[in-house]
């Protein structure tokens, strides 16, 4: 019996954000936007969804008088990502 894939992570952009953040300590919003090739508006919405789920921490500060948003994966986010990958492997093995 397959376990359902986490709906928060089973979305292109949110999964891309989590995959980027899993291997780094923290990343700036502009870096994530650049690497995921997404729009600022769309990314902002998805980042907020991940934040609300407790998967990432979002910090807003100022750098040289410009607003700077940085994102960091949480312990809960790491666990959810690992479970997602594990479940994904289950699906792929059968296929």
């Amino acid at each position: 019996m397959f376990k359902d894939l986490d709906p928060i992570l089973h979305s292109q952009l949110r999964l891309a954000v989590m995959s980027l953040l899993i291997g780094v300590k923290e990343a700036e919003f502009t870096f994530i936007r650049e690497k995921t090739n997404s729009t600022a508006g769309n990314l902002s919405v998805q980042v907020n969804k991940l934040k609300d789920a407790g998967y990432i921490d979002v910090a807003k500060k100022f750098k040289d008088n410009y607003p700077l948003t940085t994102c960091k994966i949480t312990k809960q986010g790491i666990d959810a990502f690992e479970l997602y990958v594990k479940n994904l492997q289950g699906y792929l093995k059968v296929k």
């Binding site: 979305s11 995959s19 300590k25 990343a27 700036e28 870096f31 690497k35 997404s38």
Partner: protein
């Protein structure tokens, strides 16, 4: 019409929220993003070039002074001390440009910081211990003398010294270089560190004059050549992104 616009939007903006994914696509996204994160930072090579040049120059000038018996008027190793100023400026500038912080970069930075502290401690040790030892043995009522076995020259009173101290510097040079090379999977630095350890072994058998040549070879292989390679890579990737 709406369907057409939606399709067009999907094509233009591959990373958007609404499109359904297959499991295979999920896996591809994960792999692709992890790769992107890994390849996101390119060392500009400036620090490697700076330290490679400075240590090479200082080592070669020291060797030349000893070989041809002259003095340039100041301690050439002071340039190493002054190189800390541009290094601080480079670190601040590069720190501002970094958009992503990786765990491995933090570890490597810490290793280099510890290396800097260790070098400072070794310089301190090299300059302080001979005089301290001299005072201790004087208080004990004896002294170190250089005695010529053939008795053709009179005995000379000498200050205690650490034999082949430069060999210890060579061990230190290799350490952060090898850590960086292995962590970043950057072969020129791994090779440079191996050359540095080889120079350490050589320096154990040579006089302090030739130790300086070993130091120059170590600095060229550990930092100068990897720095040139890093710089070329960085400029190439920058040109490709324009």
């Amino acid at each position: 019409m709406l369907c057409f616009l939606y399709g067009l939007f999907n094509k233009l903006n591959p990373m958007q929220e609404t499109k359904l994914m297959t499991e295979q696509e999920s896996l591809e996204i994960i792999q692709s993003m992890i790769q992107k994160a890994k390849a996101s930072y390119h060392d500009k090579g400036i620090s490697s070039l700076l330290w490679g040049s400075v240590v090479t120059i200082a080592s070669l000038v020291s060797f030349t002074q000893k070989q041809y018996d002259f003095y340039i008027g100041f301690d050439i190793w002071l340039i190493v001390l002054f190189a800390i100023i541009p290094q601080i400026i480079i670190s601040i500038k590069e720190g501002k440009e970094i958009k992503v912080k990786k765990y491995e970069d933090e570890t490597i930075d810490t290793v280099w910081m510890v290396y800097g502290i260790s070098i400072f401690c070794l310089v301190f040790y090299q300059n302080i211990t001979p005089n301290v030892s001299n005072n201790i043995i004087k208080n004990e009522g004896w002294q170190l003398t250089k005695h010529f076995i053939n008795n053709l020259q009179p005995d000379v009173i000498i200050t205690p010294f650490v034999p082949s101290i430069f060999s210890l510097y060579l061990i230190l040079y290799a350490l952060p270089t090898l850590v960086t090379g292995v962590t970043k999977k950057f072969k020129p630095m791994i090779f440079g560190a191996i050359v540095c350890y080889a120079m350490f072994i050589v320096s154990c058998f040579t006089t302090s004059k030739y130790d300086m040549l070993c130091g120059a070879v170590a600095a060229i292989s550990c930092w100068l050549i990897p720095g040139i390679i890093l710089r070329k890579k960085y400029l190439k990737s920058k040109a490709a992104n324009v």
